[in-house]
């Protein structure tokens, strides 16, 4: 049931009737080339160098695979996300000098650099280059959450919302009900809604309340910001129909601001790079991120994303002979690396 037929008069119409969805340029594949905790970046370069060295042949192999699948003109771009949300006090110049310098030494091309805090809130740069607060991306995504209903959910009762938590089933009895001292009920384990024979129950903290002025009212969790990040890479987010981040080219490689939040969410480092967003987003990450990415998949599967944006991406894919699934989570691929 779309709103397409709301009023389709060819005699009279108004501009505000149907807001248009602006498309973003798309690559075939976006490759995320590794990830570090800020503490790793703050120390020596050994860890960075080791991970980047392993990355180079993998990026080559996945690029070759993209060419094999989509043809020699397939567009592939690389990106790297800096964790500046939980460690905002660090110095961008020091960190980026180290990361980008090491990448260059290892022969790894990073086309786009993104900030994790930029997935919570974008920055809007005026024509004079002055930064101001932009769109609250995390809030925008959180508003699209549709919890999965338990059986016999008729709509009579509002969906159970455990402030800031999302799960894929019914929580265990002790979690949901206050202890009744007089008549203790037997423990009922949690149940996954979509289980086959047994459950894999996952309960994710998407945000916590905080009084820290640096975060506003909510401190978003790593899985939630990673969800926003993946949605950006898939070209799925719009604010009133307009893309939420513009990939600003950064021409002064050595001149970084003193504070992370004076930088845009996504920066284009390589002027010849193919588009940032892609039909498919591949992440090559240390094994430690399996839990985070499992959570990302679950959060994505509970979002009612803009159907018009999906329609357009699926349609564009079809024009290029790329079959794009409608489910955003089905457009993510992973490779997890041992030893980091």
């Amino acid at each position: 049931m779309g709103r397409a037929l709301m009023d389709c008069s060819d005699v009279y119409s108004e501009a505000t009737q149907n807001a248009r969805v602006v498309e973003v340029p798309l690559s075939h594949v976006s490759i995320e080339v590794g990830h570090f905790l800020m503490t790793d970046l703050d120390n020596g370069i050994d860890k960075i160098s080791a991970q980047f060295q392993r990355m180079v042949p993998l990026v080559d192999a996945f690029t070759a695979a993209a060419h094999a699948q989509f043809g020699q003109s397939a567009r592939v771009s690389t990106c790297f996300l800096v964790d500046d949300y939980f460690r905002y006090g660090t110095n961008p110049g020091l960190i980026l000098g180290k990361v980008l310098g090491t990448a260059e030494e290892c022969g790894l091309t990073i086309d786009y650099l993104a900030r994790e805090a930029g997935c919570a809130q974008t920055l809007s740069l005026g024509p004079d280059g002055q930064p101001s607060a932009g769109i609250n991306l995390a809030e925008l995504v959180a508003a699209r959450l549709v919890p999965e209903p338990a059986r016999e959910s008729t709509g009579q009762r509002p969906p159970v919302h455990e402030g800031g938590w999302l799960c894929n089933g019914e929580r265990s009895s002790t979690a949901a009900e206050p202890a009744q001292a007089m008549r203790p009920k037997p423990y009922r384990p949690p149940v996954e809604f979509g289980r086959r024979d047994h459950s894999v129950f996952l309960d994710i903290e998407m945000w916590s309340d905080t009084n820290d002025p640096m975060y506003g009212e909510k401190k978003w969790s790593c899985p939630f910001l990673a969800t926003v990040w993946q949605l950006l890479r898939l070209g799925m987010l719009r604010h009133r129909g307009v893309p939420v981040v513009e990939q600003r080219e950064w021409t002064f490689r050595d001149e970084w601001p003193d504070r992370w939040w004076d930088m845009p969410s996504v920066i284009k480092l390589n002027p010849r790079a193919k588009p940032f967003a892609a039909y498919r987003a591949l992440s090559i990450l240390p094994r430690a991120y399996i839990g985070v990415e499992h959570s990302v998949q679950l959060i994505l599967d509970h979002l009612a994303l803009d159907a018009e944006v999906t329609d357009k991406i699926v349609e564009r894919g079809a024009n290029e002979k790329v079959k794009v699934p409608r489910e955003a989570s089905a457009r993510l691929e992973y490779m997890f690396l041992d030893g980091f």
């Binding site: 037929l5 549709v146 979509g194």
Partner: protein
């Protein structure tokens, strides 16, 4: 009709009430603290509101969704289970009238897993649809079951649309001083199917003083997609008729109306706030505008409205004459 994935039936409910605010809201104005756009975007930030200024301002919020997994009401009491999402929109008409609309397009589940619940992402990639995963699901049986009083353990669009309205009405930016006190909200429950008819057909029934049911039998998918907007438009006009009737009844409580200022205090705001909103079919999509012609013949919507408005004007005029005489 009949292809897998085609809707068997669309079920919906629209609630209509007066915005709890003393003045008429403008769509978006820098100087006003409360605007229609602000109210509607509070529910779904970052999206665009559908807005049409003419002939009567209409603003529709972006859709939001509620997950359901339950039985659908049937007249035959056949057990039919459906899983999916109900779509909801809120609307403001003429800066005065607030509507909450909940609807779902019922389809038959397809594929190997058609008797099972699929991963939740499957349902969210087709928002606003519910899939029948059991046997049964005759469209006429579903329509009859839903439009008769559906039992509590079946799909409950009434509660969903009620919660939607309450969320907006609770918005603190409105002053909670509506110009017409004691006006109830009305409910319009509707079901639309494609049937063996030459032209779209509507059956409109007053169930109780505040509940109406509408059964639409349509000729094709295009008309089915327009059904929801038609029902929302119909609900606004039914509410206007109900409300002006209520106001006239309230004024009748003052027997010497001609000299009673209280009677005029009821009637004048009704005329001022509501009279210009009467525009049947103005916001109905083209494929279903012909349905209004049926309703103009029986019960004769325009006739009833004009007679009511004329009645209110006469009473105010008489009251004014009375005041003049009093002087």
């Amino acid at each position: 009709m009949g292809l897998p994935g085609d809707p068997l039936i669309v079920l919906g409910e629209v609630r209509t009430c007066l915005l709890p605010h003393s003045s008429s809201l403008s769509y978006s104005a820098l100087s006003d603290t409360v605007t229609v756009e602000g109210l509607l975007l509070a529910l779904v930030p970052g999206h665009s509101v559908y807005y049409k200024e003419r002939p009567v301002p209409l603003a529709i919020s972006p859709a939001s969704y509620v997950g359901v997994d339950c039985r659908l009401a049937t007249a035959s009491l056949t057990q039919v289970r459906a899983i999916g999402t109900v779509a909801t929109n809120t609307m403001v008409v003429g800066g005065r009238v607030l509507q909450g609309s909940a609807y779902t397009s019922v389809v038959r589940a397809t594929g190997e897993l058609r008797a099972h619940r699929r991963p939740w992402s499957h349902y969210l990639s087709r928002p606003g649809a519910t899939e029948i995963v059991s046997k049964g699901g005759n469209p006429d049986d579903l329509a009859a079951g839903y439009l008769a009083d559906p039992s509590l353990d079946t799909l409950d669009l009434a509660s969903i649309s009620h919660r939607l309205l309450e969320r907006i009405r609770a918005d603190l930016s409105m002053d909670k001083k509506p110009p017409l006190p004691g006006i109830e909200s009305t409910r319009l429950r509707w079901a639309a199917t494609i049937g063996d008819v030459a032209a779209p057909h509507v059956r409109f029934h007053l169930e109780t003083p505040t509940l109406r049911s509408v059964r639409l039998t349509l000729t094709d998918e295009r008309e089915l997609a327009a059904a929801q907007r038609f029902c929302e438009d119909l609900a606004v006009h039914d509410w206007l008729l109900t409300t002006i009737g209520t106001v006239i009844d309230q004024a009748k409580r003052f027997p010497t109306l001609a000299y009673d200022v209280r009677g005029r205090q009821l009637l004048a705001p009704a005329l001022e706030c509501l009279a210009h909103l009467w525009m049947p079919g103005a916001h109905t999509p083209q494929p279903l505008r012909s349905l209004w012609e049926l309703l103009q013949l029986d019960p004769g919507f325009d006739r009833e409205w004009m007679s009511s408005v004329a009645h209110v004007r006469d009473r105010i005029a008489i009251a004014n004459v009375g005041v003049t005489i009093d002087w």
